[in-house]
Amino acid sequence: MPIEASDALGSGIRQDYRTTSGIPVKAVYTPDDVGDFDPTRDLGGPGEPPYTRGVHRDMYRGRLWTIRQLAGFGTPEETNGRFRLLLDQGATGINCVFDFVTNRGFSSDHPLAEGDVGQGGVAIDCLDDMRRLFDGIPIDDVSVSLVLSNPVGAGSIFAAYLAMAQERGIPWEKLRGTLQNDFLMETVVLTAPNILEPAFSFRLSVDVVEFCTQHLPQWNPISFAGYNYRESGANAVQEAALVIAHALAVADEMVRRGHPIDSFAPRLSSFFTADNDLFEEVAKYRAARRVYYRLFQERFHPKDPRSSRLRFHVQTSGSALTAQQPLNNVSRAAYHALAAVLGGAQSLHVSAYDEALCLPSEAAALTALRTQQVLVHETGVTRTADPLAGSYYVEHLTSEMEQRIVAYLEEIDGLGGLVRAVESGWVHRELMGTSYDREIAITSGEQKVVGVNCFTDDVPVQIELFRFPSALEQQRATLGKLRSERDQDAVSRALESLRQAVEGDGNTMPHLIGAVKAGASIGECCDVFRALHGGWHQPLL
């Protein structure tokens, strides 16, 4: 491809001379491109403000990223088996994904749920399921990410987790892990029947943050799911800006509830994707840390340096993977993972090569784990912190990303903040528009995807698809047993106290724990929320 520096400036430049979020790229970068760049002000050292270079002084020498592969399918027992396999094979954290029915806080025997129980995640209906899910897993030792995306269900399922820990004699203060608990997941990113109003979903998420601030000092009660914003259409700028806007909104609300910034901000956590555009992704992580630091300093004046540090988990892109020529996905995911590590991630999941075809098979899940191990043990990328610092290109891109993220945040502020921006449908329109433009670029062939619109072949896909039995029968039986054995009056009282907490402005978490312990199902707890604040119309089309 000819190199034409003049192409890189002005309008009408070729698509492949722009990053995926539209930043023009020149053929070569020189000191002139980082003109007013000040290493002291804009970089600092690793572990120093503004944290562009990473949140730890010695980065991966001191602490390797957590190898946290997503797992969850079928029954609690089946998922427990996958946890054990991954831990035995060298994973260092658990990352549990739940089926959509569970994640939305419905019971497995709901009429709509029949095809979805145990699909795409594990089915959990009650406290007893939680006991079996974590049976024999040292939850006082290993950190556990519970990918409970939607605030509607996050609180009650987490309540079951807390009750289970209590039964095992593990004090809550010792629990380490993360909830996703993201109201954008519930109202923007994904769809479902009977969605909660955005402001109420947001309130529930902050209830969990508040509860954890008081009782679980080592737990990350929320993880701003930039990954999913991106998968549902955002570009890299929008992804980072929405994460930061969300963090600011939660901090505002916690301060409004009377909590000092340093009591909770160190435990706010984030979640990004790693997508195809390697250098833009690295710049995204670096710029996001810088903007996060500056805005938290400016708006909340924390004393604890940890309050303005952006820590994040990365999952390599699922939507960048293809059903065609699926083994190509192994190399895609490896590049994605490299971007995450060059960008200073704290935790990483590498997506499985069969993801566009089926739920990850054991072989695909292990290859993803091995991809991380190759990165750690063979490539040498862990030797030094922020290895791309000082690159004219990467520093230029980082500054460009920073400016664009800040401009986008100003736009959200102008709309009255993130919750308002969601309510009005603005966020939906933004993500959908970007996504559609990208689809058109792929459809027209302007955006090349190997095996899809170039270098295609007619070779049938030859990989073994992962199949497992439906979890529906077992979950129905579990619910039947629960309902027949419990003290119905105690359940009704507990659900009534939850309803009163919702109608007042009390924190819902203690009531959820009470209800789950009394024998309420997850679905029954969440029905209380839906009865009072459900039925929101998602502005999609």
Partner: protein
């Protein structure tokens, strides 16, 4: 003049709507009318197809629920006597499931990575929308 009318639905609890929205948006761009009804039961989906008098039903599944939900919808369409409706399935559908569902009455499957134009072209070619339809 009559436009091609497409009802699009997510089945059960499957939460991924982006693909369905992209297709919906593109079909509208191509001059079709799209009614998106979100997550519904098979009975509600078939009822909407009948009420809207749609020629095409677009179903999207990325959660693995297709083998439970799609056959039920096909059976209901037959039961209601509207099996002439073209049923398109999109999403993450393993090859062997595609074969099975095509044999049961699904008209076409468009997996992840399908081109939006290919989907629109297929619909235009497949639907006999009458001689009075005019499209750009």
């Amino acid at each position: 003049m009559s436009l091609i009318k497409v009802v699009m639905a997510k089945m059960g609890f499957d939460a991924h709507y982006r693909g369905a929205m992209m297709v919906a948006r593109h079909l509208v761009q191509r001059g079709m009318e799209v009614v998106y009804i979100g997550n519904r039961l098979p009975e509600e989906i078939v009822r909407t197809v009948i009420d809207e008098d749609a020629q095409v039903l677009g179903l999207s599944s990325l959660s693995g629920n297709h083998m439970v939900m799609v056959p039920r919808i096909l059976a209901l369409l037959r039961q209601e006597g509207v099996e002439r409706v073209k049923v398109l399935l999109g999403g993450v559908i393993p090859t062997e499931d595609q074969k099975e569902l095509l044999s049961q009455g699904v008209s076409a499957v468009f997996g992840t990575g399908s081109s939006l134009d290919a989907i629109a072209d297929w619909i235009e070619a497949a639907v006999d929308h009458g001689s009075d339809a005019v499209r750009a």
